[in-house]
């Protein structure tokens, strides 16, 4: 089974495990299975309509799956999938001070 590396803010939902083995033939399947096995994690990976959140970056080895086949990127036994946060934010449009 592929291995998914869990970033520190999400380890509270995997019992503290930094790495979890999950089934799946593609990166998308593996992430979906991860969210099924750890339901509290789902809302932090996916939007309400089931899309991967924009600040959730998924790498197969050293490559961002956006530059491979996206969630259809094939994964095999022993492949390492990493969930890597990007950090973003900012202020509201309106000047409020």
């Amino acid at each position: 089974m592929p291995k998914v590396k869990i970033p520190s803010p999400l380890r509270q939902y995997t019992g503290g495990d930094p790495e979890v083995e999950v089934g799946g033939a593609t990166a998308g399947e593996a992430l979906g299975n991860l969210a099924s096995e750890h339901p509290d994690l789902r809302q932090h990976l996916y939007t309400g309509d089931g899309k991967l959140r924009s600040f959730v970056n998924v790498y197969k080895g050293d490559e961002d799956i956006r530059y491979l086949e996206g969630q259809d990127t094939e994964v095999a036994d022993g492949d390492e999938i990493s969930i890597i946060p990007s950090i973003a934010g900012g202020t509201a449009e309106r000047r409020c001070r």
Binding site: I84, P85, S86, I87, A88, G89, G90, T91, R95
Partner: protein
């Protein structure tokens, strides 16, 4: 849970916010979570790589976050969270902040005008993503 930041690290966040003004700055809070209090041991500047509107947006790239995580672990510490500035806006998280936040991290926000940092507060995202809880900053 309180977030302990010493005067030196507070000063470094203030300096970064002033250097970046009128754009937003951002960086990492590195330290130790001992269960009852989070102790910031160091603050590391990040590059705000948001492509436009950096006066009200910031972005820290995933590979930079990964590098911070690895460097913190090498020093037997952890990535406690991140700081960023709100130029000419309050030190409160925006809706945009909430949409992009991760659970578990501390988000320190420095509010500043052209001259000085006027307020600094720390926030954590609620588990259900519905909003934030403020955590006290202690010296």
């Amino acid at each position: 849970m309180p977030l302990k930041i010493g005067a030196g690290d507070l000063g470094r966040i203030h300096d970064h916010a002033r250097d970046a003004y009128p754009e937003e700055c951002a960086g990492a809070l590195v330290g130790i979570d001992n269960g009852g209090i989070k102790v910031v041991v160091d603050v590391w500047r990040a590059e705000n790589t948001h492509e436009e509107e950096r006066s009200r947006r910031f972005l820290i790239e995933p590979l930079e976050v990964k590098k911070f995580e690895e460097q913190a672990e090498e020093k037997d510490m952890g990535l406690l969270g991140f700081y960023h500035s709100h130029p000419d806006h309050p030190a409160e998280p925006s809706e945009y902040d909430r949409e992009h936040a991760w659970p578990g991290y501390s988000y320190v926000i420095a509010s500043l005008g052209a001259e000085n940092v006027e307020d600094m507060r720390s926030w954590t995202l609620r588990d259900d993503r519905s909003g934030y809880d403020e955590e006290p900053i202690v010296g």
